[in-house]
């Protein structure tokens, strides 16, 4: 793919270096064309699209329920957050009320997703900057969360567990014990990671003062999530526009002023702690029994037993799986706080069983756009730190 870089006047002997698209530090297939004067970055241009799979176009050819599986595959490190954004959007379109029990389970799993995603971020970011061992520890803990997901949804990664109107399945007996065991062991391990990195001289040299973005620039460029909050702006969708009963949970939105890579590191660690607190609260709130589906016969597939014994349920079952359901014509935009920032889902219905248009506002698509602001004027080695600190996932950038 051709891309031109204009040489600014007075740049001296500038050279253009391609980082990626095949490079582990780009976290997928990202190409950054960097123009260098010696070791100093004059310009950086991200080039995306290598993983474009036309998810939005595919959604238009599927029914509302079928499209859920595509949302897993965008941000494959936090599938449940994507499921949640899409399901909430369609539920808003339909005007569905989801039972509290399902809402709390959604919150619990969404926060576990945030912890898992931040762990992958921490591990890969550390490995980018030369700290190998953190990666191994982070993936050990993440595996515990993956096991919880597998227990609940039957899948480690592509869970598709949240469905329109509720959840896919009743969680198995004893799943909360597993969550409790994780909550028991994890905080001490988090402290271990901190002793590896927080006061580590090399880590501090590589991150302090690197990749600074001012709060004004961050807002103007639409940056969201931990990257925005590390610049001192307390925008968190969970607090600003609560969804799925987040208003019933007490948690802090950590912010920092330094706006550099180190601040974003400390901020994400603090977010993990807040998420642990939310998970703990959610465990206390989830009733042992109760409905996990909205009372909407034409939308939520009937229980297997009812389908086998009741004529009406069988008709609904047949209609849902052959034709789908038709929301009223209209358009909604639903925001959720994914681990990377504001995940927006814009769904337009024309009154047919297939969405007229689905658009995913993925947080790192927008955050990556600010990469040139972070790394212009810094050393070429810091570009790796800047890419890592944005926590990009190319699957959701290219969709």
């Amino acid at each position: 793919m051709a891309m031109t870089i204009d040489t600014p006047a007075g740049a001296g002997e500038a050279m253009v270096l391609n980082m990626g698209p095949q490079h582990p530090a780009t976290h997928g297939v990202l190409r950054v064309a960097v123009q260098l004067d010696g070791e100093t970055v004059i310009q950086a241009k991200p080039d995306i699209g290598y993983l474009h799979t036309g998810i939005e176009k595919s959604c238009e050819a599927k029914t509302y329920s079928q499209a859920i599986t595509l949302t897993d595959r965008m941000d494959y490190l936090s599938p449940l957050s994507n499921n949640l954004g899409y399901c909430l959007a369609v539920e808003k379109l339909l005007g569905l009320q989801v039972p509290k029990r399902a809402q709390y389970i959604r919150v619990l799993l969404a926060e576990l997703t945030r912890i898992a995603s931040h762990l992958v971020w921490l591990g890969t970011h550390a490995i980018d900057l030369g700290a190998m061992s953190v990666f191994l520890y982070c993936f050990r803990e993440r595996e515990e969360i993956m096991k919880i997901f597998e227990m609940v949804a039957g899948q480690r990664m592509m869970t598709s567990y949240f469905r329109i109107g509720g959840l896919a399945l009743e969680p198995p007996a004893g799943w909360l014990d597993r969550v409790a065991a994780f909550l028991e062991s994890f905080p001490a391990r988090l402290v271990e990671y901190e002793t590896l990195l927080t006061e580590n001289r090399i880590w501090k040299m590589r991150t302090i003062g690197v990749g600074v973005i001012s709060p004004e620039d961050a807002v103007a460029w639409g940056v969201s999530g931990p990257t925005l909050r590390a610049s001192g702006i307390p925008y968190d969708v969970r607090k600003y526009f609560p969804y799925s009963s987040y208003e019933e949970f007490s948690f802090e939105v950590p912010t920092r002023k330094e706006s550099d890579c180190y601040a974003r590191y400390l901020l994400r660690l603090e977010e993990i702690r807040q998420s642990l607190s939310i998970v703990k609260q959610a465990m206390g709130k989830v009733p042992a029994e109760g409905p996990i589906h909205a009372d909407a016969p034409g939308i939520v597939p009937p229980q297997r037993e009812k389908m086998k014994t009741e004529m009406e349920a069988l008709i609904y079952h047949f209609k849902i799986y052959t034709e789908g359901f038709s929301p009223p014509p209209g358009q909604v935009y639903q925001r959720v706080e994914s681990p990377r920032g504001e995940m927006g889902c814009y769904v337009v219905s024309d009154g047919t069983p297939k969405p007229f248009r689905v658009k995913f506002r993925t947080p790192t698509f927008v955050n990556l756009q600010a990469l040139p602001l972070l790394c212009t004027g810094s050393l070429v080695a810091d570009v790796v730190a800047c890419i890592g600190t944005l926590d990009i996932v190319l699957g959701e950038i290219d969709r």
Partner: protein, 159 residues
């Protein structure tokens, strides 16, 4: 669209109407979301007011995208989803453009973040954004033919 509420006036809509009611061609509320439609010629003026008016201050452009209503005319709607960090309110702004040579004014001078969003819409819908600093394809290869998110583009691809 369904559930159009005209009697209950949204504070943001009221502020816009008080400023210049001629600049707005319609407002609608669906599921509690306010969508304001503006004529294409007024877009830059209205967007600038929304961004800079101290009572509204929509400083965060979440998303910018388009919909294709082929074969209806005007064919394309361009829609802006924004929010105000200070006032904690949201707004959807929409404008329409016709199918032959579709174009709207670029919002990059008001919200720099519109840059990639507009390139993506240009790439996938073929809508031109006048005044955009670098209107080139973003996701697809530069020599790609056609605009996949248009309704007359087959889902299975061109071949």
């Amino acid at each position: 669209m369904a559930e159009t509420v005209e009697t209950q006036v949204h504070p943001v809509a009221a502020r816009l109407a008080a400023w210049d009611s001629a600049a707005i061609s319609g407002t609608e509320t669906f599921r509690g979301e306010l969508t304001v439609t503006v004529p294409r010629e007024q877009l830059t003026r209205v967007a600038g007011f929304l961004r800079h008016d101290p009572e509204l201050e929509f400083d965060f452009l979440s998303d910018l995208t388009a919909t294709d209503h082929f074969p209806a005319e005007p064919r394309f709607a361009v829609i802006y989803h924004m929010l105000s960090i200070r006032h904690r309110h949201v707004l959807n702004l929409r404008t329409w453009t016709e199918g032959a040579n579709p174009s709207v004014a670029s919002a990059t001078s008001i919200w720099p973040t519109a840059n990639w969003h507009e390139r993506e819409v240009f790439d996938l819908f073929g809508i031109r954004f006048e005044g955009h600093p670098d209107l080139t394809r973003l996701l697809l290869p530069l020599d790609w033919e056609g605009h996949p998110l248009r309704k007359d583009y087959p889902t299975e691809g061109p071949r």
